[in-house]
């Protein structure tokens, strides 16, 4: 082929660098949160639905609260829920995927069939039904999102474990009497981390979608705490009066999911995980 593609790896490193810088911005917003915000997110002013001004860079909402402050503080809640639920799903996925792939047999059969059941539901639909059943609080949101993303992660863990467990070094470890648990965690797991890392990054992007979409529908963290999804929903309500208020939350949501997509692509090339 006649294309002058850059050296393999260069593209991956570039994407990875951009992704990490974007991630640093998100983490800074999450950690510093309220201290970065120019005003209190709940402070109301008589100046409602104002466009961007020198005092309020992104304008104000329907009861005159500063949108930039709400965006920053809302980012903290959005990102905390995202990271916590993916961490939970990753733990569950690691345990289930490793047990299923490494132990095989009946364990594999039972675990995979149970996960097939969860997998059969459209993710977002299941999330809504579970949140509706449990009630929209922050811990319930984290639990719900962890449940819906566990099957994907467990499958990504299980698939390479199936082949790695047959490799010679595993047999060798077993022959010198290493405990099965140690073989699984020390001799198999390290060889399958690359696809897991890439999938985790993609799951983070999907979770940003799920969290913001749920709160867009009013099923997110209860008000008055700001959240990117509910801010977008509110901006949509007052769109005719203040169209520019849609832009802040929309860009924040896109920026956050783009971060994890860029990271996933960079990681995929840097770690040389076969792109499907």
């Amino acid at each position: 082929m006649n294309d002058a593609a850059p050296r393999p790896g260069a593209r991956g490193r570039l994407l990875l660098t951009i992704g990490l810088v974007m991630l640093a911005v998100l983490v800074a917003v999450m950690v510093l949160g309220p201290s970065l915000a120019p005003y209190s997110p709940s402070r109301t002013t008589p100046d409602s639905l104002a466009g961007p001004t020198a005092q309020h860079w992104l304008g104000t909402d329907s009861i005159g609260r500063d949108l930039l402050s709400r965006l920053i503080v809302g980012g903290r809640s959005t990102l905390l829920i995202t990271f916590a639920s993916v961490a939970l799903a990753l733990c569950a996925g690691l345990v289930l995927g490793l047990a299923s792939g490494y132990l095989g047999g009946r364990v594999d059969l039972v675990v995979m069939r149970l996960l097939d059941v969860i997998f059969a539901f459209p993710v977002f639909l299941l999330a809504i039904a579970v949140v509706a059943a449990l009630g929209p609080t922050v811990p319930n949101l984290i639990l719900t999102i962890a449940i819906v993303y566990t099957p994907t992660l467990a499958r990504v863990v299980r698939a390479p474990v199936l082949s790695v467990k047959r490799w010679d070094h595993v047999e060798a470890a077993r022959s010198v009497g290493v405990r099965e648990f140690d073989i699984a965690t020390r001799h198999v797991l390290p060889l399958v981390v690359s696809p897991i890392i890439v999938q985790t990054s993609l799951t983070l992007a999907n979770t940003i979608f799920t969290v913001t979409a749920l709160s867009f529908l009013g099923l997110g963290p209860p008000p008055p705490d700001p959240n990117w999804g509910s801010m977008l929903a509110e901006a949509r309500q007052f769109m005719e009066l203040a169209p520019l208020t849609v832009i802040g939350p929309a860009i924040a949501i896109v920026f956050a999911s783009l971060t994890f997509i860029v990271l996933a692509n960079g990681l995929r090339e840097a770690l040389d995980v076969g792109s499907r």
């Binding site: 529908l217 099923l219 929309a250 783009l258 692509n265």
Partner: protein, 319 residues
Amino acid sequence: MGAGTMGRMVLLRLALTIPILLGVSVVAFMLMRALPGDFAQAAAGTTSISAEALDTIRRQLGIDRPLWEQYLAWLSGALVGDLGRSFVTKRPVAADLLPRFLVTAQLTAMAGVIAFVLGSATGLASARLRGSADWLVRGLNSLLLAVPNFVVATLIVLLFGLYFPSVGIFNYTPFMQDPLANLTSLLLPALSLGLTVSVTISENTRAAVLEVSSQDYVMVARAKGLPRRAILLHYLVRNALTPVITVAGLQLAALLGGSILIETIFTIPGMGQYLFDSVTTRDYPAIQAIVLVAATVVLLMNVAVDIAYARVDARVSYE
């Protein structure tokens, strides 16, 4: 593959789906029974109700019986199309659900077609033209993937609502009333729903075309001087379609999930909006029914995909 083996394969594949379907029905049932609070109180729709009245409702709904008996009663009803009665409208859920299901099916199908056309065109262009076209398509794809469908829909509503108010975006028209107006009213919703899915199809098509291009038989075809267009049509397109079909089940699930947001935003009376309304009014029999129906559709789609896959690719068998 002979007709006999094909028939056996279809049966086998369906048989394998039955335990998963049963699991799905258990989850759908338990989800609404695991509620904190009283199911009977939710059915009554009010908290100020006498204990005797609650007991009557419990008996009517059969929730004084053991859980497994309730499940069996619900499941046998569901098998013959009886999905219970809505707490809100007091009508059979199945009667409320069917017309909404058809609306969602149409929206999903239109989104699927848009996603397929956009995705395979950009994927093919990306793989064949390489160079800057490839970078452009992949960059745009990454960006599109990052814009959730409800953000796309909100921006479309903003754009048309503010600058092109003559285009009625909230004018959903039933198909029976005016087929043409119906199609145009669903065009923008279908586009916002299909965009994200087109990215997956585009990336898959690109990967498949690149892989097929390096196969021996394509090299031979090129070496013996077949025109590019003929190679493209004969070998690339057909072979590159297979991985696209494979992800159809997953994509259908994504479309069904997304339809909840899109229907709510564009006020389309489909299954997604029905779910949202039912969640708001705590209409548990309706939620149960929607969850069950959506999961069943996705499972059946996966069976259809596997069968189509086996027909296209002789290497796949289920023995």
